[in-house]
Amino acid sequence: MALPLVYHWRNLFVRKTTTLLTVLVLAAVVGVFTWMLGFSDSLTRSLSTASDPMKIIMLKRGATSESNSAIPVDEYAKLNQLTEIARDPKSGQPLLSPEMMVQVSLPRVRDGGKTWGNVALRGVTEAAFAVHRNVKPTGRMFSLGSREVLVGLAAAKQFAGLKEGQTIELGYSADRAYTIVGYFSADGGPMESEIWGYLPSLLNAYNRSMYSSASLRLMDGADPEKVIEKIKGPAIQLEAQTESQYWQQQSRNVTNYLLITRLLVGVMSLAAVFSIANTMFAMVAGRTREIAMLRTMGYSGRHILTGFVLEAVLLSLMGGSIGCLACLGWLWFVGNTKDMFGASTFTTLAFEIHLTPDTILWALASVTAVGVVGALIPAIRAADTEVIRAIREA
């Protein structure tokens, strides 16, 4: 029979100061860990919605993003020779979407307009809504005849002046008023941080005659890699990427930062391991006689070992829960809206950090592991206590 749990629980409160200090160490580590996990999860979630395998983004050769690409109309027209493009079931038109990408500088809501972000403005045609399947207007569409735009839900939340009914100054000289007539969702993907308007109207406003990029949807069964080869080939000569390749490249910087943060949090966890080990060694040393008593009562070395590891796990879970709560509180009070800059888009990708149950479970699991690793050696030492000598000496 194992030692009762309540024995371990009560033992944590014999040395209150030590327990409190150790719990605080763990809470701090777990707090940072959870935030970081939440950040990278939210970013990954946002980018994973933008990984439609049947969608291909085309840029001018040499361009690194939609913002700095320019495709002349005659080069765009060459794309029509591709046979693998899916077709609209009703009209029979190929699902090929010419797009224009510019930016508009808007104040952030988060800090009361002290800083500004570059919001992407995309000129699209009706085809775009069939190619980018996850983009769904929540209300009515913009009309083709008048100056109207739709705003992505994430952009509307993070930037000022993007509410339905407001007008926004667009155009080369920022002198044409467009009315915001509604919102659209994109399953939380990057496009939700954009503003969409009718392509010919925006081309005109920005005094352009070229598209920035084009996207297409492949028909079922087509091999994306083969089509990409064809687009890059001599007949068309454009740069092509699947959507996930494109976004992976754009989030490269942030992935780098996250790698650094992860490394630092790893080092911090190691510090927590040492801290727990220290505490557990003290606990074992302080209870040598007690352990010897337990052994004489018939508890085996293994019972003692698991007992001490269990105590460390309890300690870790206490710290972990406080850490998670602290992180939740931080997100609640300080804010959970974030935006990041694409590596070469110069536009912001807005998203919110949400802690999912998965994230919290991960955090708690990691801190438990930290507790177990830290307690292992002290617990082994406890299990190896020589009964007679311990009782005689202590």
């Binding site: 030590t18 200090l21 570059n118 155009g171 080369y172 000289s173 040492f274 801290s275 060694f281 003290a282």
Partner: protein
Amino acid sequence: MLHLVYLYRNLTRNMLRTGLTCAAVALPITIYVLSAAVIDGLDRFLDNSAKQMRLVVVNRASIINPLPSGYRVKIESLDPTHSRITSICGMRWIGGKVENVAQPLSTLATQHDAYAATFPDEKLTDEEIEAWNRDRRAIIVGSATARQFGWKKGDRISINPSVPPYTPMEFNIVSTAPDAEDKITNFFRLDYLEEELKKVMAVPDGWTPDGWVSFIFVKCATKQDLDYYRKAIDEMFARSPYETKTHDEKAFMNEFITQAFNLPRNLTILAAVTIFVAVMAAANTMSMNIRDRMNEVATLKSLGFGQWLVFGLIQVESLALCALGGAIGAAIPFVAFTYTPLRNYPVPLIVFLDVRPIVCFQSLLIAATIGLLAAAWPAWSAARLHVVESLRNLE
């Protein structure tokens, strides 16, 4: 002397505990040093931007909308004496990539005649300036970028622009600007870019071959001039087809840095949490130490040791412990990023991490403070310990 021996014996009597505590302090200090080194690198870059007293003029609509390069003359006309605005230089962004390397570069085409005067902080030699003025294909590459690609002065390199003309451009390196604070950006001549653009048959509109710049740097003589022209320039172009937005250079650069992932802020928070962890870990050890030695402390006091001496002894013990941990913790990143191949590991934003001794020294001071903080409560309770009672309580 005797006190020192006592301290030493106390520290070495439980080597396991001392070691674990040292590690628990050293690791957070390592994190602190690394974070501080990154922030320090960015700060130095931004401070240099502030010192240079330059304004950056961009298109109000957004940073990718260009400005007419003729704006340079118009801004010049605000100060005909050239005593308050000393130099103006327009630039055009081409980004760029090296063939078969995914990483985007930061490359700018500049109005070459004004470049050296507007950017004295690049610290070009007279001979380099002469080469820059003579050779249309001259390029000044950032020192870190040069180190990364193994480029040297005099090399001929090729960069593929990320904007039209998109075709590879050949450059001759006239300098790697080893003493400049901006270690990343490459600068070349705008007239070369415009010449290449004119060669391209179909030039996209909005990208008309010449006469456009992405931003204009305006170097002012004094801080007052800087503040004055920041407003004056925007007022001059208000209600024109190309309205401007003028920042001082520090604000402009800072916006770029914080837009990406607000690294400085996140690292500051991380560093603060780290220090907290170290204080808690050290305090834990000290409180355990004092608890175990309660009877000793009582004995000391009954022998006539004053309460301040007892307080001091415990404080110094904790100080020594944490300073040792701090020294180890600061030494690891210093050695790693100064003497090992890690020093060539590229870090985003600042490219190469430079762990300066001053940062290590600061961390050592912080470690010492951690030691004092950690022992405050245990030392205080030991100092106030009631001798008879504690001797009675202990077996």
